[in-house]
């Protein structure tokens, strides 16, 4: 089984059936099912979700990327604060970064105001947070390999040789 290819296909489209995946990989449906179970068991596949144009789905909806500078704590580094932040249900993702900032946090909210308040009242005040920089997402062009507005992206004609 070519696991990299399988993961690649699932990254592109997690709704492909095991039968479809099997055909493409030259494997049986059951072999694909088994391999996916293994990947789930081993924590390589962590879950499945849809890629949604949030701004389209909810006109007022906003997403922000917040970069935090924080003070590492003896023995546990950045983990402690990361754990606190990831426990907030408003938070979609938390990454530890290299470079000038330490944590990158993604938050979705129902309005700009809500997100801004969340940052000022919940994140900025946490012990160890030195500074926050909030970037609101204005438009999605591409996410996880998916191009938004793909209709305009394929510049090939409808029909050709």
């Amino acid at each position: 089984m070519n696991t990299n290819k399988l993961l690649d296909l699932l990254r592109q489209n997690a709704r492909l059936s095991n039968a479809e995946l099997g055909v493409m990989l030259g494997e049986s449906e059951s072999a694909v099912a088994e391999e996916i179970s293994r990947l789930e068991r081993d924590g390589i596949i962590m879950g499945y979700s849809a890629i949604i144009d949030e701004e389209k789905a909810d006109e007022n909806g906003v997403t922000a990327i917040i970069e935090l500078k924080i003070t590492p704590v003896k023995d546990c580094g950045f983990d402690d604060l990361a754990h606190t932040i990831m426990a907030y249900e408003e938070v979609d993702s938390v990454f530890l970064l290299s470079g000038a900032n330490d944590l990158s946090v993604t938050i979705s909210g129902t309005s700009l105001r809500n997100v801004a308040l969340f940052v000022s009242e919940r994140l900025a005040v946490l012990d160890g947070v030195l500074s926050t920089t909030t970037h609101f997402i204005l438009r999605r062009y591409k996410e996880k390999g998916h191009i938004f507005n793909e209709d305009n992206f394929d510049d090939r004609g409808l029909v050709s040789p």
Binding site: Q12, E20, L158, V159, P161
Partner: protein
């Protein structure tokens, strides 16, 4: 102006490409998803694009030698030596052309005069017969059949050979069927041709795209065939360079010498920037080609199974990036099928009849699209068929 009398009858008689005709229908339907494109969905490998930018920055924008940059001709010869085990002299036996299309045009124009017959296996790409007609020759179709895996058989070939036969077009891997000629098939064809004065125009534009472990073999490799074979290929499909308009032709010097004169007066020299980029493509982008072929192969299996599962019998193609399912079970002609499919389900595929009469009863489906695009289109075709049954 009396245009009708102005334009020669044989030019007016030429039919526009059936692929094109269908395009005119499809483009007026809103929200169509297409499975009809005969070009890669990949972008040209970055290394080749970067080289083009570099060449533009350096201002290398002049004509090249008529037959193309000598560095590129050497690269092509080197490539052919490895790929089809056939050696050509870069000085005298290769021309860099404006796509494989120009190479086809040159070959036919250099070879054919009124009264000559050109054998064309069908279904096949649309350009061979019109060029033959323009030269006053006669294109003689040889029907290939699904039960023969759409390969040209020696028996079918023999049947069509007459004293007037001058040229055999050998379009494999085939557009639209995806058929590939195996070594044994080619040996049988070679056996028929050796000792005749018939030349083969071997259109190998899809040669790099073969699947199931099948490797492309050129008829030029067969004993005694190099001297009677014009190998035509290009960069469009393998390197996803359709818009760069670059192909090549290799063959025996006495033929290439004549073709070069036609090329010289018509084209001068192929696009310079494209030629430099093509050197990099051929020398450095083998891994990109391999990656693209692997992707096509996955999609090919998905689409073949998709059609077979929905009851449209589909020959398993071994090359190119098309499948050619049979739609006879729907009782429709291929044009009707395609028109209704595009109006009712907004999916564009090309009627098989565009590729010669023997393509009737089939449609050409390109899988040069993302997996998501393909699964969406297949689902719509399945719906279309289910609604037909009601």
């Amino acid at each position: 102006m009396d245009y009708d009398n102005l334009i020669p009858q044989k030019i007016r008689d030429i039919q526009p490409s059936g692929i094109r005709k269908f395009f005119d229908i499809a483009q007026h339907v809103e929200g169509v998803i297409s499975l009809s494109i005969g070009e890669p969905d990949f972008k040209t490998p970055w290394a080749a694009r970067k080289e083009a930018i570099n060449i533009l920055e350096k201002g290398k924008t002049a004509y090249t030698a008529n037959s193309g940059l000598i560095e590129l001709r050497k690269t092509v010869c080197n490539y052919l030596k490895n790929f089809i085990h056939t050696e050509y002299d870069p000085e005298r036996e290769v021309i860099i052309t404006v796509g494989g299309s120009e190479a086809i045009d040159l070959a036919v124009r250099a070879m054919i005069e009124p009264g000559d017959e050109v054998l064309v296996p069908e279904p096949s790409f649309v350009c061979y017969s019109p060029i033959v007609s323009m030269m006053g020759g006669t294109a003689v179709p040889i029907v290939t059949k699904a039960e023969d895996k759409f390969r040209l058989t020696a028996a079918a070939l023999k049947e069509k050979i007459t004293p007037k036969t001058k040229l055999l077009v050998l379009p494999y891997p085939n557009n639209p069927t995806g058929a590939v000629m195996r070594r044994g098939d080619l040996e049988a064809i070679a056996e028929v041709l050796r000792g005749t004065n018939i030349v083969v125009a071997s259109d190998e534009i899809y040669a790099e795209m073969t699947y199931n472990g099948v490797k492309h073999v050129s008829i030029a490799e067969m004993d005694g065939m190099r001297e009677r074979t014009i190998v035509i290929s290009g960069f469009s499909k393998a390197y996803a360079m359709t818009g760069w308009r670059l192909g090549y032709v290799a063959g025996p010097q006495p033929i290439i010498k004549q073709m070069l004169k036609l090329h010289q007066y018509c084209i001068m020299s192929s696009p310079t920037v494209s030629q430099y980029a093509a050197i990099v493509a051929m020398e450095k982008c083998a891994a990109d080609v391999e990656h693209m072929v692997e992707e096509y192969d996955m999609r090919r299996r998905l689409v073949v199974k998709g059609f077979n599962d929905m009851g449209l019998e589909c020959f398993e193609p071994e090359g190119a990036f098309y499948v050619f399912p049979c739609i006879k079970s729907t009782g429709m002609t291929s044009s009707e099928f395609c028109e209704r499919l595009v109006y009712e389900k907004k999916v564009a595929v090309v009627p098989g009849s565009a590729f010669g009469e023997s393509g009737e009863g089939f449609v050409r489906v390109s899988y040069a699209y993302s997996v998501t695009h393909l699964t969406t289109a297949l689902a719509r075709i399945r719906e279309f068929l289910e609604e037909l049954k009601k």
